[in-house]
């Protein structure tokens, strides 16, 4: 039942988006010209292709985000479990160890200048 409500919400949201996109397709004028079809590059003729090489930093940021975010996501069930637990000392020891590992990883990332953007 919960899942059904989610599916209905998704269908209605998609329908809304499709209707909005369809409206301007229906009402707007259609007059194709060569210039409209161009790649926009501040009014000059486009140079080269858009699929060129980009800075590796973007890739590194995404990979590091994945690592840290997964580690933080692990803490969410932990935070709820702590409030229902009796042996909290064990949970705290686990938390401190986990955070120590995370901090060592973080210090390594910062020291290796993986996230330094300026030259």
């Amino acid at each position: 039942m919960e899942f059904l409500s989610f599916v209905i919400f998704l269908i209605l949201a998609t329908a809304l988006g499709l209707i909005l996109m369809f409206i301007s397709n229906l009402l707007g004028q259609k007059k194709k010209t060569v210039r409209k079809n161009d790649i926009y590059e501040s009014g000059v003729n486009p140079v080269g292709s858009a699929t060129r090489q980009y800075d590796i930093k973007f890739f590194l940021t995404a990979i590091l985000f994945l690592l840290f975010d997964v580690e933080i996501v692990f803490l969410l069930p932990w935070a709820i479990a702590y409030n229902n637990a009796t042996n909290t000392g064990f949970l705290i020891a686990g938390f401190v160890f986990f955070m120590a590992v995370l901090l060592v990883g973080y210090i390594f990332v910062i020291n290796s200048k993986a996230l330094k953007w300026e030259e």
Binding site: M21, L76, I80
Partner: protein, 349 residues
């Protein structure tokens, strides 16, 4: 079964009409607010106080030509605005605009997607916002859009981290993942006059979250994705007419959803504002009404805060932005979390 489906459709319509109906008003407030801060007049010609200007803009968007250039990747180019809008609307499915209330003989929960994991779902869905942007930038096959999308994504994921640490700290304090219980926790007063809001328990987490939502919704001072002077308009450069408008709608809906999450965590969600709770509850429908009013006022103040910040701070440079996210806010969030946990542990010993 049919009754349940009708109920879901009504709830969905209400929760979608709430932000989408407020959208023209928000855009108007933003433009008039900008004019007010910069000592200009702002749009004041269409309708009283220029109130009909946003509607005129929507009509104009509808009648504009939809340019579909041939150098784009057609499927993803059309899918990107749709994904952006749907994903921006998704977190709203889990956000309650009022408490559970008695409707004749049964208890009605106001959120569409009732789940005790609602808050996690809302954060997961709001984090999906980067997909619409990345797809739009890549599918447009243009250097500016590609750069804008890459920048937006790197920025959104970086600030996601400090935002998540703030969420963990708050969930640790509340001890629950049910939004209604969180709001119950924040209902009432300390010493009779300070509202029991999360912001007074965790001010550092509140600040991290606030900076996080500015970066997540790509608003100034973090709108590097659309730095006009560098990459023209960013990821939606090749879009026109309603597809372009849909990106703007998605951005504003995302802003509202994130503001609502911020208010749920730090400003008592739909709990009744101080002052409004003096009204006697003579009728069972008055409390839900007051709750909706309180949440609306809080969200409206948040939106005004967004506008205010937009015209107060200059834009960051990109390396400053990434340094702030990774080298200042993330350690601050982790240290805040450790201090919170150890403080709670030793206080209970």
């Amino acid at each position: 079964m049919l009754e349940a489906i009708i109920e879901i459709i009504i709830k969905t319509a209400v929760i979608m009409a709430f932000p989408l109906g407020a959208l023209p008003l928000i855009i108007h407030v933003e433009r008039r607010g900008a004019a007010f801060i910069q000592k200009r007049v702002g749009p004041n010609r269409v309708g009283p106080f220029g109130l009909l200007q946003p509607l005129a803009d929507v009509a104009k968007f509808m009648f504009k030509e939809e340019v579909h250039p041939s150098h784009v990747r057609p499927f993803f180019y059309s899918a990107a605005p749709l994904i952006a809008l749907v994903v921006a609307l998704l977190p709203l499915a889990c956000i309650p605009i009022m408490g559970p209330f008695q409707f004749f003989d049964r208890t009605v929960y106001p959120e569409v997607f009732r789940s005790d994991m609602g808050i996690f779902f809302a954060f997961a869905a709001s984090a999906l916002g980067s997909y619409g942007i990345l797809l739009a930038g890549w599918a447009s096959n243009n250097k500016y859009t590609m750069l804008g999308a890459l920048r937006a994504c790197a920025q959104m994921v970086s600030y996601e981290l400090s935002l998540s640490t703030a969420v963990v700290a708050m969930i640790f304090i509340f001890g629950t993942n049910d939004i209604h219980l969180m709001v119950d926790w924040q209902t009432g007063y300390w010493f009779g006059f300070i509202p029991k809001w999360g912001v007074f328990v965790q001010p550092v987490a509140a600040m991290l979250f606030l900076v996080g939502i500015f970066a997540e919704s790509n608003r100034l001072p973090f709108d590097l994705a659309e730095g006009e002077s560098e990459i023209v308009a960013g990821y939606h450069l090749e879009y026109s007419s309603m597809k372009f408008a849909i990106f703007f709608m998605a951005e504003y809906v995302h802003m509202i959803a994130l503001s609502a999450l911020f208010i749920i965590m730090f400003f008592g969600g739909y709990s009744v504002l101080p002052g409004l709770d003096l009204i006697p509850l003579s009728n069972p429908f008055i409390l839900p009404l007051l709750q909706v009013t309180s949440l609306t006022i809080k969200i409206a103040l948040m939106i005004w805060f967004f506008v205010w910040v937009r015209w107060t701070f200059p834009r960051f440079r990109y390396d400053q932005l990434m340094n702030l996210g990774w080298e200042r806010l993330l350690p601050l969030g982790i240290v805040n979390l450790i201090i919170t946990v150890l403080f709670v542990y030793f206080r209970n010993q």
